[in-house]
Amino acid sequence: MPLLEVARLTVRFGGLTAVSALDLSVEERALVALIGPNGAGKTTAFNVVTGVYAPSAGAVRFDGREIGGEPPHRICARGIARTFQNIRLFRSLTALENVATALVGARRSGVRDVLRAPGWRGREAALADEAHALLERLGLERFADAPADALPYGEQRRLEIARALATHPRLLLLDEPAAGMNPAEKEALAALVGRLRAELGLTIVLIDHDVSFVMNLCDRVAVLDHGEKIAEGRPEEVRRDPRVVEAYLGSEAEGAA
């Protein structure tokens, strides 16, 4: 059974159909890319899977369970985490605090925090340790006490990934994780993503514009254009597909065929 299944998903905003009858199936531990020109509906699809929007029609199933229309925090608890196209860190909180927030998520209890029964301090310390460990894994340890908006751009993107990982997801959705990065940074990111899949057993779906970044990294690629899926398959197949080439013609198409 695929971990994520999107069946005939349609999303309409008033008169505009952003996503039309999208079918997508993602197996566990797969690394899938969602590509397509601007406005193709990729982020909208992400937003539906993560609960920001509800589907207008069609179904979204995670681990066999229908999740369409559930609120984002509930979907997060089920094991889906994401990063955003435009970085959405908690800017005035430190890097550590950004991650720690996600570690706690919905499991906080105001009552326990106020009363501080024995064991509270131990739990707090454990959380802090885990947060530090995550930062370390992503090479951000030295920024632990820096406010998130003070981090350099590339590090901010990695912090967003660290924060997403703090929710212990099974499925990670990365929305343009390499945007604004130079080739060296992109290579490092690609290596990181690959490592995360291997070490944490994650299933990853990512959106990106940079076709070559995606080609070398992913198992499968799905191509969206004007809300519809126009191609899907292994990277080499998709790259040669004439419909894909045409969709990208006229928009920035780094290395597309």
């Binding site: 905003f13 982020t43 937003n47 920001v52 955003f84």
Partner: protein, 302 residues
Amino acid sequence: MENFLQQLLNGITWGGIYALIALGYTMVYGVLKLINFAHGDVYMVGAMTGFYAAHALGFASDPSLVGFAVTLLAAMAVCAALGALIERVAYRPLRRRGAGRLAPLITAIGVSLLLENAGQLVFGADPKFFPALLESRELVRVGGVAISNIQAAVLATALLLMAGLEFVVMRTRFGRAMRAVAYDGPAAALMGVPVDRVVMGTFVLGSALAAAAGILVGLSNPKIDPLMGIMPGIKAFVAAVLGGIGHVPGAMAGGLLLGVVETLVSGYLSSTYRDAIAFVVLIAILLYRPTGLFGSPQAEKV
């Protein structure tokens, strides 16, 4: 039946006044996305200015249409200047800094408090009696409903001013610029629209209308005091939200509607709850249709 019509007339009259004040709120919100809490107090300053001007110019003891008109214009001019001053000193620096939405709101509250308290100091906290610039007499009786010349003056002035504003907004270059800034400020700036001047002009227009409302209220309800702007200010704001904040015809409609509803409910049910009606309406709109009767929803892009 005649009582109902009489109440309706009263409601429309009050509605016109709320509409005049509401227009200022809605225009400023349209261009700045700011709730100008101080607007109700500008209305108060208008009434006070009228009071002093009428006495100084001798119209207080010698009522006449000319006296009314001159007082009206004087008050509008003074408040137009006040509005411009407030914008320049309190709001523009925040805009320069890109201060977000919260800081201007807090500043607006501060300016409002300042006007009220300075008003108490300068004008004295005790209520004054607005001079009768027009000698009150019954103008006409239509089917048992009496229309006094004062009510006629209030309605006529309000309608004229609203028509004038509608003309400015829809038919002049300035109005077009205003609508452009309200629609998309940054884009308008990029297209060469002088945003600062448009904003200032918006404040000028809105404040002038509020001043007019102050004079009209002074005519019909002569007791004026430095805190008189608080309640009508809030109610006019509710009216603006009711019509769809940022939407000019909406503010007019909202004002009239609120005036009528308030007068009818207070007349037929209970007058002690008169002030509460506006708040109940406010809560109802915010919960069920926050964009108001004519407004359009704005979605956030994720």
